[in-house]
């Protein structure tokens, strides 16, 4: 799938760039964290598939394996860009 980056937007002033939907940020659309895809883009496993294994370190250092840790409960798994910026 050939994905294009969405560079639509305008510069409003120093460190003020709006994107195609009018959200304003310090970087222009299509750069850095604002590299949004235009059109279709991969969204991972499909609805109906088993959630792939996730084994990672939690914020307190322990290793978490989601399918074990959830203990038979449903899961909400959020992939976010960053909790720092």
């Amino acid at each position: 799938m050939q994905i294009e980056r969405d560079t639509r937007g305008a510069e409003l002033g120093p460190n003020q760039y709006e994107d195609a939907e009018g959200y304003i940020a310090p970087l222009p659309a299509g750069s850095g964290p604002r590299t949004n895809p235009l059109g279709e883009f991969p969204t991972g496993p499909a609805v109906g598939e088993l959630l792939p294994d996730v084994v990672a370190s939690a914020s307190d250092g322990r290793t978490v394996d989601i399918h074990q840790d959830r203990n038979g409960q449903p899961v909400v798994l959020v992939f976010t860009r960053s909790v720092v910026w």
């Binding site: 994905i3 294009e4 980056r5 969405d6 709006e18 994107d19 195609a20 939907e21 009018g22 959200y23 304003i24 940020a25 850095g32 964290p33 604002r34 590299t35 949004n36 895809p37 235009l38 059109g39 883009f41 991969p42 969204t43 991972g44 496993p45 609805v47 109906g48 598939e49 088993l50 959630l51 792939p52 294994d53 996730v54 084994v55 990672a56 370190s57 939690a58 914020s59 307190d60 250092g61 978490v64 989601i66 399918h67 840790d69 959830r70 203990n71 038979g72 409960q73 449903p74 899961v75 909400v76 798994l77 959020v78 992939f79 976010t80 860009r81 960053s82 909790v83 720092v84 910026w85």
Partner: protein
């Protein structure tokens, strides 16, 4: 968060930040959910959602995912996922909870022969922060023998939909959430249309980009206006198209973002600038 616990679900938030950065965030926001650190983007890659539009040497941005949410059932099977093209907006908790619980349809007693379609419209939330989408929900009650339509409809027919006014500057709408339809073939020309019957709930996620916030003595507000449209037909004829307007004025709350600043009193410092610098250094010196 209590709502997710009450729904019996476990919430995980994963990003490429280091564990220490996540620990600071967790403490600052009193977060209840498990935060998972994926600093080399291994999990992100395994899901196939690494943002490959970003160059490998574009630090610190390389390694981020196309952001989204997966909801599973009790067996760990994905039942819904939320991904939008604009990464500034993310789905509000109401949408995630609705996916977990499944849409609850209340079946009402049907009374009266000449009952008509009624609709209730509400904004599912108390506030609209920038970057969070919340839904406008239209609950239709369609009497037996009557139906309304899903797109596409032939010229002259109006499909059921929720629309935000174009003049509602600063308000954006995203992919509508609609229930399954029934296929109905018109005997006349064999045309097949998709119809909704009974209790029908349409949902339109909306967000605001911050450009239309109104300030007054009571605070900051944002107005969301628009209309719900539909056209009711029975097996023989159609009524005139109908609409119900809505205008919601909700507080434009502050978004809960990663904060690189010194903290503003209501949120303690998360050492954002220090963590950011560390991320840059680590990525630039990594092989």
């Amino acid at each position: 968060m209590e709502n997710f616990e009450a729904a019996g679900a476990k919430v995980y938030v994963l990003s490429y930040d280091e564990a220490e950065a996540m620990a600071d965030y967790r403490a600052a926001h009193n977060a209840n959910f498990t935060m998972l650190s994926d600093p080399n983007s291994d999990v992100i890659r395994s899901f196939g959602i690494l943002n490959t539009l970003i160059a490998e040497d574009d630090h610190p941005w390389y390694g981020i995912p196309y952001p989204g949410v997966y909801i599973t059932d009790a067996d760990g099977v994905i039942i819904e996922k939320f991904f939008e093209n604009n990464f500034t907006v993310r789905p509000g908790p109401e949408q995630l909870l609705a996916a977990l619980k499944g849409e609850e349809v209340l079946l009402k007693e049907r009374t009266g022969v000449d009952a008509k379609v009624t609709v209730e419209v509400e904004f599912e939330g108390d506030t609209l922060p920038v970057g969070l989408s919340r839904q406008i929900v239209a609950r239709f009650s369609v009497p037996e023998g009557i139906h309304i339509y899903d797109e596409p409809v032939p010229e002259g027919l109006v499909a059921a939909s929720i629309e935000v006014d174009e003049l509602s500057e600063g308000i954006l709408s995203y992919t509508p959430v609609t229930p399954p339809t029934r296929s109905m073939t018109l005997s006349g020309d064999g045309h097949t249309l998709e119809v909704y019957e009974g209790d029908v709930v349409l949902r339109l996620p909306v967000a605001q980009n911050g450009r239309a916030i109104e300030k007054d003595d009571d605070g900051r507000w944002v107005s969301i206006s628009g209309r719900v449209q539909w056209q009711a037909c029975d097996s023989e004829a159609c009524a005139l198209p109908e609409e119900k307007r809505f205008n919601f004025r909700v507080p434009a709350a502050f978004a809960v973002l990663g904060d690189m600043g010194p903290g503003e009193g209501r949120v303690p410092a998360m050492n954002g600038a220090a963590h950011f610098k560390e991320m840059m250094t680590r990525r630039q010196t990594q092989g």
